[in-house]
């Protein structure tokens, strides 16, 4: 496995979807500005009863699970030793990097006194009893790790670049100024290239230890995202409040991770008009039902143990959301048990979407829907609050779209076919080339 199994996606950057996403991003960021000028109350419907709204529930708790594609793929490739999935990992890490980076950014929008966040680095302020402390430190560390994991792509691009755009720009500037372009700028640019070429093989040597750190940290903080609600024993509905919250959140982020890797691959192949990665995806899809079966067993077993099964089928407000979450995950998994469906892009997409929806709904149920602080409190997000989240998500997709076009991220098409063949023998399924352009 080298860094030559990836390629840039050669296409225009300024597409209509770019404009739409940019508009949404700008609206979102304008509202964020408003939030910092006029306070959180001016843009959100959060209250003292519901102090955490969709920013925490979606951007942080759910967003980081959806950003677990990189985590799930890293487990698969490096721990379960399926190197033929390696070409898929860089795009998974890129989306994880955006997901986590922006979750961190959302937290800075959400917290009331972000300027005090430096206290996370002051040992005397460390508070090991707090799951939030653990989450915050791990998420910061993991975002750094993700950037380092993605660094090879940037370094490779730096090494190979001819600085054409920059050269043109400099030429244009200096011609306007009526001056001769000094030699030393070219020298400096060469220095950067040399530095990148020097750093990349060195980074490669230690990269595996960083990658493993990138598996350990999400294991820690994804379970702690569940631990966050352990304390709310009087507010979180008994259908969801259990000592198993950390374990459930951990498994939940894994199956969401694999499902989102499938969704991302299908969507980006569709959007960028590349052949579908059917073989790799059906291999991924084989893992998901096992994880969901473990998860569903823990959920049911725990409810039975705590004697809450009756509440689950009482068809009241909470029961309906619980059953919806349960059915989405169970249906999505059932579909994936069939080998024929695992080999159809359409069914893969449908079942992965069901599982991501169900898994995300679980997190919404724990953080918002099943959370009841007492009589008289209600919460439904304000439009501005939603638009801030939309803006942040739009920025995430925008960044992905642009970066795959300027950096080698997506799998190289010809190596993919070789790996597809390997995946085919691995999954002991007949090799077929549907959807692959020759």
């Amino acid at each position: 496995m080298g860094h030559d199994e990836y390629q840039k996606h050669e296409a225009k950057i300024l597409t209509p979807s770019f404009i739409v996403l940019l508009t949404l991003t700008l609206i979102g960021f304008a509202l964020i500005l408003l939030r910092f000028v006029k306070g959180i109350g001016a843009v959100s419907n959060m209250s003292d009863g519901y102090p955490w709204g969709i920013w925490i529930t979606y951007d942080v708790a759910t967003g980081t699970a959806i950003a677990c594609g990189g985590y799930a793929m890293a487990i698969l490739v490096y721990i379960r030793n399926r190197m033929h999935y390696h070409p898929m990992i860089r795009s998974a890490i890129l989306t994880s990097m955006f997901g986590y980076g922006l979750a961190g950014f959302s937290v800075m929008v959400d917290v009331g006194r972000p300027w005090n966040a430096y206290n996370f680095f002051v040992p005397s302020k460390w508070q090991a009893n707090s799951a939030m402390f653990e989450v915050a430190v791990c998420v910061m560390a993991y975002t750094t790790v993700l950037i380092m994991e993605f660094l090879p792509a940037i370094l490779t691009a730096l090494e190979k670049t001819e600085w054409k755009t920059l050269q043109h720009l400099l030429d244009w500037v200096y011609s306007r100024l009526g001056m001769e372009r000094p030699e030393r700028i070219g020298d400096r640019l060469d220095k950067v290239k040399e530095l990148a070429a020097w750093a990349r093989p060195r980074l490669d040597k230690i990269l595996i230890f960083i990658i493993v750190l990138g598996i350990t940290l999400p294991t820690m903080h994804q379970s702690s995202l569940g631990s966050l609600l352990l304390i709310a024993s009087t507010k979180l509905h008994p259908l969801w409040h259990t000592g198993f919250l950390p374990l459930l959140f951990l498994i939940n982020c894994m199956y969401i991770g694999y499902s989102i890797a499938i969704l991302e691959s299908v969507l980006s192949c569709y959007a960028f008009k590349r052949p579908f990665e059917t073989k790799e995806l059906s291999g991924l899809a084989r893992i998901i039902p096992w994880l969901t079966v473990i998860w569903l067993t823990v959920v049911i077993g725990d409810l039975a143990w705590r004697g809450q099964l009756g509440k689950a089928v009482s068809f009241d407000f909470y029961s309906r959301f619980f059953l919806l979450e349960f059915c989405l995950i169970a249906c999505g998994s059932l579909l994936l048990f069939s080998k024929r469906r695992r080999e159809s892009i359409r069914w893969l997409f449908v079942s992965a979407a069901l599982i991501v929806l169900g898994g995300a709904l679980y997190r919404f149920n724990v953080y918002l829907i099943g959370f009841n602080p007492g009589k008289g409190w209600h919460y439904f997000p304000a439009l501005a609050e939603v638009m801030i989240t939309v803006g942040i998500v739009a920025f995430e997709i925008l960044g992905y779209q642009v970066l795959v076009k300027i950096l080698p991220v997506l799998p190289k098409l010809h190596t993919r076919e070789q790996h597809a063949a390997a995946a085919a023998t691995d999954a002991t399924t007949p090799h077929h080339t549907a959807g692959q352009k020759a």
Binding site: M1, F36, V37, G39, I40, G41, A42, M46, D48, P51, W52, Y78, I79, R80, N81, V111, G112, R113, P114, N116, A117, N119, F120, V122, K125, Q127, A128, N129, S130, A131, M132, F133, E134, I208, I211, V212, I215, T216, T219, S224, S227, L229, L230, I231, A232, S233, T234, K235, G243, F244, P246, I294, V298, P373, G374, Q418, A421, A422, T425, D426
Partner: protein
């Protein structure tokens, strides 16, 4: 290669589950001790006349402390015209009337319960919420607080309040006049001004004794329960009332502090930081082994391209 690594993977999953189960079983291991020498208040709802003098006193004494000062008319130093509906970013204590029928009604005073094992202190990631072990006062430090509002999520009484309307907000809650009336006069402002003697200020042991005495001497007058004596591991602000406490907005709670439950699980997983380190080293071992194995198959792959499906 695939099978043993999957087994290892499942082992890790199993180990997490086992650790959690162990956490459940290891209950009552680190149960906290109630310190009755700490200070608090006894609020007797049957004595309260609902004059709200305590509310005004609280605002007059604490209004400017800790940059709480909110927009207020110069002539209204008591905040009499605030008419707050609930505790808020500008209101630390509040009197409410609960009326069930013409005969059955009761006032109730809300303010921080100053728990013996406070959830807000347990969850604050940067130790901005603290409990003084000497006095038992649960205090807030705005210079450390990051404004994450986890204390609000955690508090079973919904006591900490956030200043939603401010660009520079903070958490607001009662601190028993720790920096204002208490050092000056040795008593909280609300207890000092109460004309009906409904608020008694003192050490927790004296408050409990007095409450028990009142229950003993007035059979039938009160609900036979001291709210806060045992709830969530004991609180320093305790209540007597003639109406069911849950009707007064004081939730029915277990004796175990929620913080005990969550800390037990968190401590089991992160005890001595052994589990994360063990996880990291195990994963490193597997990954490095896999990489080596792969390097070799890669070389084989180059020479004998047809045997590539071996990894």
């Amino acid at each position: 290669m695939a099978k043993p690594s999957r087994r290892q993977f499942l082992k890790i999953m199993g180990a997490t589950g086992a650790a959690l189960l162990a956490g459940k079983k290891a209950q009552a291991n680190e149960g906290h001790k109630i310190n009755n020498e700490t200070i608090g208040m006894l609020y007797d709802a049957t004595k309260c006349v609902g004059c709200k003098a305590c509310m005004s006193a609280c605002k007059r004494v604490n209004g400017d402390y800790g940059s709480l000062s909110y927009e207020r008319a110069k002539f209204d130093t008591d905040g009499l015209w605030d008419a707050p509906q609930d505790l808020s970013g500008s209101t630390r204590t509040l009197i409410k009337l609960f009326k069930q029928s013409e005969q059955e009604w009761s006032y109730v005073k809300y303010s921080c319960m100053h728990c013996q094992k406070p959830s807000c202190v347990s969850v604050c990631p940067v130790a901005a919420m603290t409990r003084d072990p000497e006095t038992g006062i649960v205090d807030y430090n705005k210079n450390t607080c990051i404004g994450c509002r986890y204390c609000q999520v955690a508090c079973a009484f919904n006591i900490p309040k956030f200043q939603w309307e401010k660009a520079i907000p903070q958490i607001v809650k009662c601190d028993l006049c720790k920096n204002t009336n208490l050092p000056k006069k040795g008593i909280s402002a609300c207890a000092e001004v109460c004309p009906a003697g409904a608020i008694m200020f003192g050490k927790r042991k004296d408050l409990l004794e007095e409450a028990e005495k009142r229950l003993r001497e007035n059979p039938g007058k009160y609900i036979n329960h001291i709210y806060g004596a045992h709830e969530v591991g004991g609180t320093n602000h305790i209540y007597l009332a003639s109406m069911q406490f849950n009707k007064l907005g004081l939730p029915t709670l277990k004796e175990e502090a929620p913080a005990e439950f969550s800390e037990k699980i968190q401590h089991t997983i992160y005890k001595g930081f052994i589990a994360p380190v063990a996880l990291y080293s195990t994963l490193c071992f597997i990954a490095v082994k896999n990489m080596k194995g792969h390097g070799e198959t890669e070389k084989e792959h180059e020479t004998k391209t047809d045997k590539g499906g071996d990894h």
